[in-house]
Structure formats: C-alpha cells, structure tokens
C-alpha cells in the first residue's frame, strides 16, 4: 500500500519536501474540513483561494472532519505531513501517532539560527538571522 501525504492548508504546493520524504507513489490528500474552516472564521473569499490552490495540485480531496477522515482513509498506512506550528494540526498528528507511523517534514528554511535564538523582540532575532537571511538558499533540511 502506498504511503499517505496529508497536505494541510499551511503547505499547498507540489514540491514541498514532504513529497520527496514520502517517496514515489505516495498519495497526497487534503481534508476539506468545514468545522475547522468555521473555527478559523474563514469567509467565502478564503475558501475560494484555498480551493484554487488545490486545483493546481495532483491531490485527493476529502470532505469531513480531519482527524476522523485521515484515520479512516489511511487505514494504517504510513503518513507524511508538512511540519506546522498550528496547534490544532499538531494535536491531530499526535493522535494519529497512536495508530500510524507519522513523519513531520520541515519546509525549506529561510534562515538557519540556533534553536535557543532570542525571540523576545524582532530586531534581536534579525541581528542573529541577518547573515543567513541574506545568504543563498541552503535547500531542504531533509
């Protein structure tokens, strides 16, 4: 059985490193989750924009509640997912890990900085990140 890529709304493109990590033949899915969209307060404008980005991708779209649909559709397959700070998605990933192998894949970074970089105010961060930000791309982390 092919592996599954859960492409969520933070990573709607076909060359995210998650595709390479999942390997050839992986099936990408997007869950059109009305309850989630409502909880985020999205208006029709945003839904149209997301829909049009999906139309450009080779992806299976499923409508329903994300955690439930993923669990049911994956049927135990390995799942690859783009890394995200979204707490709702992180909770779903955590839950899926009870019954599936789930790998979160980071996107190509803008800057490389130490994990303990000072985030108290932007310009402290900028002073540490500037050199990396103004250098050529380092490419994918994985």
């Amino acid at each position: 059985m092919s592996t599954l890529i859960w492409l969520h709304e933070d990573a709607l493109r076909g060359d995210h490193p998650v595709f390479k990590a999942a390997g050839e033949g992986a099936e990408a899915v997007f869950i059109w989750d009305d309850a989630y969209f409502k909880s985020e307060g999205y208006s029709f404008k945003r839904l149209v924009f997301i829909y049009e980005l999906l139309a450009a991708l080779d992806i299976t779209c499923l409508q329903g509640e994300t955690a439930q649909v993923l669990d049911s559709y994956a049927k135990g397959r390995d799942i690859y997912v783009p890394e995200t700070p979204n707490p709702h998605f992180k909770a779903i990933i955590s839950e899926l890990r009870n019954s599936h192998n789930v790998t979160a894949v980071p996107d190509v970074p803008l800057v490389i900085v130490p994990d303990d970089v000072d985030l108290r105010r932007f310009f402290r961060f900028w002073n540490k990140a500037k050199k990396s930000a103004l250098s050529p791309s380092v490419g994918p982390l994985l």
Binding site: D107, F122, S137
Partner: protein, 268 residues
C-alpha cells in the same frame, strides 16, 4: 465510517470563475461573503514572483501604492516559500540592495517561530497594556459601524471596504485599522484580530495576532497610533484625507496621545 462513505471531490481546474465559485458554494454553503478579485492562480503568482522589485520596495514600501508584491496569500498557504522569494530578490539586486525586502520576509519567519514556541500567545496578552487601560476597558464586540464600513472617518471606511471586498490590504493600512479599532474605539485586540483573520486572504494566526498585540502594546513598549497627516503622506489621491471627513484622527501626536491615552504614564 468506512472509506466508501468518504466524500471525495476533485477541484475544478477551470478558467470560468462562475463554475469555481459555484463549486465552492456547493461544498461549503455556510461560508459568508463574496469571492475576492485576488485569486489562487499559480500562473499569476509566477508572474508576480518575476516582477519582484526589491529596490523599489525598499524605497516605497510604506506608501499605500508602493512596490509591494501581494504574494502574502500564497506564502501564507505554503504555495510559495520565503526561501524562493528571498533567492529571487537576492539574485535580482544582490544582498545589500535586497536587505529591506528580505527583512520583511524574515518577520514572517519570526512570527512562525513564536507560534511554534509559544502557541498560547496567539490569543492571550503577551504583556500588560501600556496604554493606561486594563484588558477590561476594551470592548468584547466589534461595533456595527466598523463591520459595515460606516464609521465617522472617511479614510477608515475606504480601508475597511477594501479589506471586506478584496481580502488584501497594505501593511500600513493594517496598522491604521488595528490602531483605529484598538485605540480610538477601544476594542480588544483579539476581536480585531479575529475580524482580520476572517477577511484577509493571507490571515495567519501568528503574523496577524502578534502584530495586533504590537499595535495594542501587549507585545511592544508602547501603543502604535497614527494621525491624519501620516495617512495623507503615505496614501494616494484615491483616499479621502480631507480634514472635515476625518476629524477623529486629525491632530498632533501629542494631542492625540493625550486624548487616546489619558492615563498613560509619561516615559521618563
């Protein structure tokens, strides 16, 4: 639930706008409002990436008609990476000339790191207000005249109309609206942040909410506010900045500060 019961659909790859809108309405009939003229069109995105002008951006970015890219909705939803945009900018003009542009990209990276590390900050005050008011002095509801773009201030109404209609407004306009809602109308920043997340195509919990906190002063040393002269300086002739139509925001910074923040302790 079995996989047979799952509702599967294939998004239309159609140039016919009406077909696409009908398909989205059928999927989510609950969604309010109309579509924006800004679309999730990847060909248009590519054109915009090629048209990036970091030099003009550095010079004009604070002006409402400045050389901004409007790529933010694509970046927000991961259709385009900060990395790629940075690479294009540096390739075009070199790192020194692209610095202002790349610094603004880095703001998004910074907000995302905060979101990852402190998710609770997205909806809670990072620090106390420095306005002389406490959280309970701010309203929990958005006033109707703001929701309908019918306030007593002409330029604010124009900015609100643009937000409601297109889902995209210039960063400077975001600051004007946030300051107006938070400080002139004394509405909780959370209420304003939610309003923006509903209408902005690029609305992102981290960039949006932490910027609202920056304006509110719960994530900065002082509240951000502006005056009519500032709007006049940065806007074009299409924005009504006549005194009589914008009295509420007219005046010197000192006079406005006394009016908006009568209990704020003076900086030593």
């Amino acid at each position: 639930m079995t996989s047979k019961e799952l509702i599967k659909f294939t998004p239309l790859k159609s140039d016919n706008t009406q077909d696409v809108l009908s398909a989205v309405r059928a999927l989510s009939p609950w969604a309010e409002g109309e579509a924006s003229s800004i679309r999730g069109n990847m060909a248009q995105m590519r054109e915009a990436v090629l048209a990036i002008d970091p030099t003009a951006y550095g010079r004009t970015r604070n002006h409402l008609d400045g050389a901004v890219t409007q790529l933010s909705p694509f970046i927000r939803h991961g259709a385009l990476t900060l990395d790629e945009v940075r690479n294009v900018a540096i390739e075009k003009v070199g790192p020194k000339e692209a610095e202002k542009f790349v610094q603004q990209l880095t703001w998004r990276d910074y907000w995302q790191r905060l979101y990852e590390k402190y998710p609770e900050r997205i909806w809670h005050d990072v620090e106390d207000y420095k306005t002389g008011f406490g959280p309970n002095d701010y309203a929990d509801q958005m006033p109707d005249d703001i929701l309908s773009a019918q306030t007593g201030t002409a330029c604010i109404n124009q900015f609100l109309e643009q937000l409601l209609e297109t889902g995209w407004i210039h960063n400077h306009v975001r600051l004007y609206l946030a300051a107006y809602i938070c400080h002139w109308r004394r509405v909780k920043w959370q209420v304003g942040a939610r309003f923006f997340l509903t209408h902005l195509l690029d609305g992102d919990p981290a960039s949006n909410n932490l910027s609202w906190q920056w304006v509110a002063s719960t994530f900065s040393h002082k509240p951000y506010f502006f005056n009519l002269d500032n709007v006049s300086k940065y806007s074009g002739p299409d924005i009504n900045t006549k005194f009589n139509a914008n009295k509420e925001i007219a005046g010197s910074y000192e006079a406005l500060s006394e009016r908006l923040f009568p209990y704020m302790e003076p900086k030593r």
